[in-house]
């Protein structure tokens, strides 16, 4: 990264322009994807194939992440709970945190690192090895064939995985509660279903996860297609894509936390 | 003097997850001062052979010997001593992107010997002049054209004046004029210094005239080892086809 003579202000300005242009390009890509979605003009067999592949490839990390992070929520809450002697509230506390925030957020970060990054690498490799040009030469629309199925595949994978990881994280939390502060599974379960957690908390998490899926899908497809410069270029794209996804996830999380009840 | 005796190299095939023979039963001898042309179709194991000689890949069976040192069983220190005598230009150039051209060329010299700064500057300038890139000292590799990178890689391989020179496609992607100049340069320098050189190239028209002997490697096996004339008259149909570049045949 050349520091040379560019002043600090200049660099900030250049950064803002860069970001604006990337967002603009992503919006254009989104427009072209939507244009091919209504009516659905994309390869549905490809969608199913990607869905299966993405689910299988992300399953192990989602399981590990969910179990451990559920347990960590309890570990962090345990001292507070013990301080107030409110063991019965542990299920509620962990459930609230997992369903509204931790579950969707960590699952999205993991899927972004696994599925999103992989997708960028795939598309990027196809671009630098001129496979995408090859498709065009055969009059096959790369967006219909390559991009749109992946785009919806990622959104669906992330939404489904969030449901799955919510359940696993609660299970991990219950296990940790039993092991660390001796709260029975039953007590934990009562804490979750005791009425303090409402359906809207679950919905809050799921709506967010769909939005995260959207940003991961869009940025991973965009950076994949925008790859140039051989093998190092693919590496750069993957990096840019995961960074954009993570930034986007946090920004969306912020706005949705306020907007969605 | 290089001696390979029924050398076998097995590498992990990452896609299938098992280990696969890449070289089998290679037996050749390259005397000192010889330019040995190694040719063969793609994925035959030519690069693997060069890397094995440089001690970069493990020897599975047989013997790879350079001036009496067994590369496969050399200890780390022995290998380091051996590598002072090896110069290698890689197929992908392997120029360090974050170092300037002159730092790249000087890298083996500084790592393997203890030269003074003046010596380094002098030698780098001489090398750059020999590959007709004078004044490129401070450029960075990503800003060079494909042909320029190839020539810088050659300059780096020869900076230590190694007795053994391993060149993997040193002229791929070069225009005919530059390519011919590079082959002439190789021949001139190798003959002047009495070094041994193993040269991999698919540019047979330019390669064969400068070679003393030639080996044809197909699918990990040495099909032919001998002089260029013998190769051109070979009774093995595959060797004959490859050396003459015929489209029809067993390959």
């Amino acid at each position: 990264m050349a520091l040379s003579n560019a002043s600090f202000v200049h660099r900030i300005g250049a950064g803002v322009v860069d970001l604006a242009s990337t967002v603009g390009q992503m919006m254009t890509l989104l427009g072209r994807i939507l244009q091919r979605s209504t009516p659905a003009r994309f390869d549905r067999r490809e969608l199913l194939r990607h869905l299966e592949f993405m689910a299988i490839e992300s399953l192990p990390i989602v399981v590990v992440t969910a179990l451990f992070s559920g347990a960590i929520v309890v570990i962090q809450a345990a001292p507070v709970v013990q301080r107030f002697g409110a063991e019965g509230l542990l299920g509620w506390g962990a459930g609230f945190g997992v369903l509204r925030e931790i579950g969707p957020l960590l699952t999205a970060l993991m899927i972004s690192g696994r599925v999103g990054a992989n997708n960028t690498a795939d598309l990027g490799t196809m671009v630098v090895t001129e496979q995408v040009d090859g498709l065009r030469a055969l009059a096959i629309d790369p967006l219909e064939y390559l991009v749109v199925p992946r785009f919806y595949g990622i959104i669906m994978t992330l939404s489904l995985m969030t449901v799955f990881s919510d359940l696993l994280a609660l299970f991990g939390a219950a296990l940790a509660g039993q092991a660390l502060i001796g709260l029975s599974m039953h007590g934990f379960y009562n804490g979750i279903t005791g009425g303090l957690i409402e359906f809207k908390d679950v919905a809050h998490g799921l709506i967010k996860s769909a939005a995260f899926g959207f940003i991961v899908a869009l940025s991973s497809c965009h950076f994949g297609l925008a790859t140039s410069g051989g093998a190092p270029g693919v590496g750069r794209s993957v990096k840019a894509s995961v960074v954009m996804s993570a930034g986007g996830i946090f920004a969306l999380d912020y706005f949705l936390s306020f907007v969605v009840p | 003097m290089i001696r390979l005796d029924s050398l076998g190299v097995r590498l992990v095939d990452r896609r299938r997850g098992d280990r696969r023979w890449v070289l089998r039963d290679i037996t050749i001898a390259v005397p000192r001062g010889c330019i040995y042309g190694l040719i063969g179709p793609g994925a035959a194991g030519k690069s693997v052979l060069l890397k094995t000689l440089a001690g970069l890949l493990p020897v599975e069976e047989g013997l790879a010997e350079i001036d009496g040192v067994n590369v496969g069983e050399a200890a780390a220190l022995e290998l380091e001593v051996l590598r002072r005598r090896i110069g290698m230009a890689f197929q992908n150039n392997a120029l360090f992107d974050h170092l300037t051209v002159s730092e790249n060329i000087a890298f083996p010299l500084r790592r393997l010997f203890t030269p003074t700064d003046d010596e380094v500057r002098e030698k780098v300038a001489e090398r750059l002049a020999s590959v007709t890139l004078p004044g490129y000292e401070e450029r960075l590799p990503p800003g060079l054209s494909g042909g320029q990178k190839k020539r810088v890689a050659f300059a780096r391989a020869t900076i230590t004046q190694p007795p053994l020179l391993l060149l993997d496609e040193p002229a791929a992607g070069l225009d005919p004029v530059t390519s011919q100049r590079l082959f002439d340069l190789v021949k001139r320098e190798v003959k002047a210094s009495g070094a041994t050189c193993i040269l991999v190239s698919s540019d047979l028209d330019r390669l064969l005239p400068i070679c003393d002997s030639v080996g044809v490697l197909v699918h990990g096996s040495m099909l032919f080892d001998g002089t260029v004339e013998d190769a051109k008259r070979s009774s093995d149909e595959r060797v004959y086809q490859f050396v003459h570049g015929l489209p029809d045949g067993p390959l």
Partner: protein, 268 residues
């Protein structure tokens, strides 16, 4: 070379599971070996001077603003979410700041910060090293008696150890500030009430520090491992970069669990 007979779905699932276990143990062994070699070369290496400082600058320069941004958002979200949660029980927000401060030092600052670092810095390290592997630069290093672990991994490892802590502290400060602003705007908690650090004790600081150091070591080891294992052209670089993000993130989550559980059990 005979091709194996096609597998039935059952067999292939079993094979996949088996391969997962084998890959897992082999991966753990390779990571340990890389870690030990890194430590060895930290004291014994002959890398050029200044390479660690260069990497430290790269890490800070690349990640500070990104971490400040994401942690800033996290601060706002978490204060908002926990205040909403608290509001359903007792609408008394005076302790929100104190609890948030403890959680930030002990858990959120190091862990979320490190997850972001893994994304930003880990991916970068893996991409860089993987490109060097597939373009044979690592072979060229070895040919010149320059061990790739010494030249490539050690500077990144040392730089990351230091810079993770620095960047985590900086971005946690940002998260604390945005949290305070959110509490003030959304729940009318005054700054002097929010800035209550009475719950942050030695145990919290020690746990947070341990985590930062552990993550700072884990990210470069995982990422460099993935980079060095790269093979097969541009597709290989992509795969290595992906694997680095996943492996580093998993390492952080697993380490977090063990350090948290450990510090809870010893009563810190």
């Amino acid at each position: 070379m005979e091709t194996p007979p096609p597998l039935t779905t059952h067999e292939s699932m079993l094979v996949k599971l088996g391969r997962l276990v084998i890959d897992g143990t082999e991966g753990a062994r390779a990571l340990t070996s890389l870690f030990l070699r890194t430590l060895w070369f930290t004291f014994k290496g002959s890398r050029p001077k200044g390479s660690t400082a260069h990497q430290a600058f790269e890490i800070g320069n690349n990640s500070a603003s990104f971490l400040a941004l994401t942690m800033g958002f996290i601060g706002m979200i978490l204060v908002y979410q926990s205040a909403v949660q608290l509001g359903r029980l007792v609408p008394d927000y005076s302790m929100v700041g104190a609890n948030y401060g403890e959680l930030l030092v002990r858990e959120l600052g190091p862990t979320i910060g490190a997850l972001m670092l893994a994304t930003r810095v880990g991916a970068g390290m893996a991409a860089e090293i993987a490109s060097m592997v597939v373009t044979e630069q690592v072979d060229a290093l070895r040919l010149c008696a320059a061990d790739p672990v010494d030249f490539l991994v050690v500077p990144r490892f040392l730089a990351s150890l230091v810079m993770t802590l620095v960047v985590v502290v900086l971005s946690s400060a940002v998260a604390y500030a945005t949290g305070a602003i959110t509490a003030f705007i959304a729940f009318d908690v005054r700054f002097d009430v929010f800035a209550n650090l009475s719950l942050v004790d030695f145990g919290d600081v020690a746990t947070g520090l341990t985590k930062s150091i552990a993550y700072g070591a884990a990210i470069p080891i995982c990422s460099c491992h993935c980079g060095l294992e790269a093979h097969g052209g541009s597709a290989g670089v992509g795969r290595a970069t992906t694997a680095a993000v996943v492996l580093s993130s998993l390492a952080i989550i697993v380490l977090n669990f063990f350090i948290s559980a450990g510090s809870f059990l010893v009563g810190l």
